[in-house]
């Protein structure tokens, strides 16, 4: 692993807390999370729906719905720029230029009435002052980069003429047009067929290596995590409950929630039935005090009323867990 200090990483988040307004009260939907992603590194953010993964991504992008959601504390530094302190024009200039994002739904994330070539090159016109002709030329190169066949002929095609996998490639081309240092991928392969998933993941890994991208991968698919991530961060109810290098995590999942997630994953070997995690994530207004997983935890005790600190696992300073029962002496 690189020894570059966290402060100069393309993406670094310190003590981020994001709150949602319900009625007249602000509830913390993301609590005090910190992480950084280095160039060429992939950090996977894992957890079930409603655990704060996507909210974390939107906080980083500076795209929270203004009235109802806000970053209440913490620092988000993207390529040297503090996004939490910056004004909106600065953040707007950062988005699409130095930080890109791709979404789960490639079928609806492209504008149906504009040609592909224009959409791929539009960010270059916005951020780099390219003319329409220059943007079109660069769009062709970008489509070739993401391996869209017959790129030159497809510049004038419309999104409905592309398959789902091709559209996700186009979305990647859009996000990478200006050569950002950070890419956030929110469930990028969830909507795709399994064979296409593998192709898109391989493409992303390849581009990441070429462009030196820091990749924040949001997913609930542990299979994807195992195949592409360098480090894992498991979130539950807005807290980071476990984080560590991907090998250490899969060799020794330590938080009860991580164990439960892995037990709920289908496997080819063995014929154990899948173990679903009982219950569901409590709603934001009903979160328990202290550890938020206690309502579903098989090993809870009276200590869980206080939020445990992050402690090391097996003496490995990179592998940390947030659970009283896993604190090592």
């Amino acid at each position: 692993m690189s020894t570059e200090p966290a402060a100069t990483a393309p993406l670094s988040v310190e003590g981020l807390t994001t709150s949602i307004l319900v009625g007249t009260t602000w509830y913390d939907a993301v609590r005090d999370i910190s992480f950084h992603v280095r160039p060429k590194e992939t950090l996977a953010l894992v957890g079930e729906s409603g655990c704060g993964k996507s909210l974390t991504a939107l906080s980083v992008m500076g795209l929270l719905p203004p009235a109802a959601v806000r970053v209440t504390s913490g620092r988000i530094v993207v390529d040297g720029v503090d996004m939490t302190a910056a004004d909106e024009p600065t953040r707007e200039a950062m988005r699409g230029d130095r930080i890109g994002m791709i979404f789960q739904e490639p079928m609806t994330s492209l504008n149906p009435v504009l040609p592909i070539g224009f959409q791929v090159g539009e960010a270059l016109m916005r951020h780099r002052g390219f003319t329409r002709r220059q943007a079109r030329e660069r769009a062709r190169e970008l489509l070739e980069l993401v391996r869209v066949p017959a790129a030159a002929e497809r510049l004038d095609a419309y999104p409905h003429q592309f398959s789902g996998g091709m559209r996700q490639r186009v979305m990647i081309a859009l996000a990478l047009a200006c050569g950002p240092r950070v890419l956030i991928a929110d469930e990028p392969t969830t909507a795709l067929d399994v064979t296409i998933q593998a192709q898109v993941l391989a493409l992303m890994a390849d581009l990441q290596e070429k462009e030196g991208l820091a990749l924040l991968l949001i997913t609930h698919n542990l299979g994807v995590v195992a195949s592409v991530a360098d480090r894992v961060m498991v979130m539950y109810g807005g807290d980071v409950v476990e984080s560590g290098p991907v090998h250490a995590f899969f060799a020794r999942p330590t938080h009860p929630y991580s164990e439960a997630l892995l037990a709920a994953m289908p496997r080819i070997e063995g014929d154990l039935p899948l173990q679903p995690i009982p219950g569901q994530v409590p709603s934001l207004t009903e979160m328990p005090v202290g550890c938020r997983f206690q309502t579903r935890c098989p090993i809870r005790d009276e200590r869980c009323a206080v939020l445990p600190p992050m402690t090391t696992v097996a003496g490995d300073p990179d592998h940390r867990v947030r659970c009283w029962a896993r604190v090592e002496a």
């Binding site: 699409g96 979404f103 419309y158």
Partner: protein, 284 residues
Amino acid sequence: MSTSAAEFRPSVLKRALRSGGLLFGIALVVVMIVAAIAAPWLAPHDPNAQDVLLVLTPPDAAHLFGTDAFGRDVLSRVLWGARISLYVGFVSTLAGVIIGTAIGVVAGYYGGIVDRLVVAATDVLLSFPQLIMGLLLVAVLGASLGNLIIAIAVTAIPAFVRLARGSTLTMRERDFVDACRTLGFSDLRIMFLHVLPNILDEIVVMASLWLASAIRTEATLAFIGLSVPPPTATWGGIVREGFDNLLDAPWMSIFPSLAILAVMIGLNLVGDGLRDATDPKGAP
């Protein structure tokens, strides 16, 4: 997820051309527009030249539509009147569409207090019948070509605000708008470069129907004497002049009425045809 309007784009033209009504409507409207533009060359007589010897002549070879109470050639007046009636209709509808759509897209995109104020204002304006509204405005502003256009444009604005706002509200929730934000696009660029092209088909359909309505409003205002003052010919005005001698010389009112009818039918056929052609549910 393949329900976007564009999925059906390649067949829109094909379906539009298969619809006979649309083609007939376009032909009718084009003929009227050409006639209006070419009026100085097509009109057999000066529309304002009076001839006391030819007062109230029935249609004959020299005066195909007959003459009026001042001996003016009705065909020439109908042709010249088309210029005023169509010009007022087109310019006022265009102004109403542009202003109304811009306001509607902005209100629908931002929502909140701006949106609520805009909706309240359009509800108030829409509660007046179009004709009463136009009448009121012309009465206040005075009857002139410019004021007539302003009055009719103002009656068109609230309808387009409402249409554009509603369509923008649904577009705003689409994923591609979020994707635009992640690319650092400004609200202005998203609204007018990304949202507007997606709602344009509905706007165009309604504009063609409103054009008919604007021409009818102009004719009605002219009929009650609130259009361009005489002796300038307008369709509504000629109908009105013919009313004094309706039983003796019905051709004076019939021919301009037929011209109005033809434009109404043509534009409504165009509007209905476009709507059917762009409506994905109408796919055969």
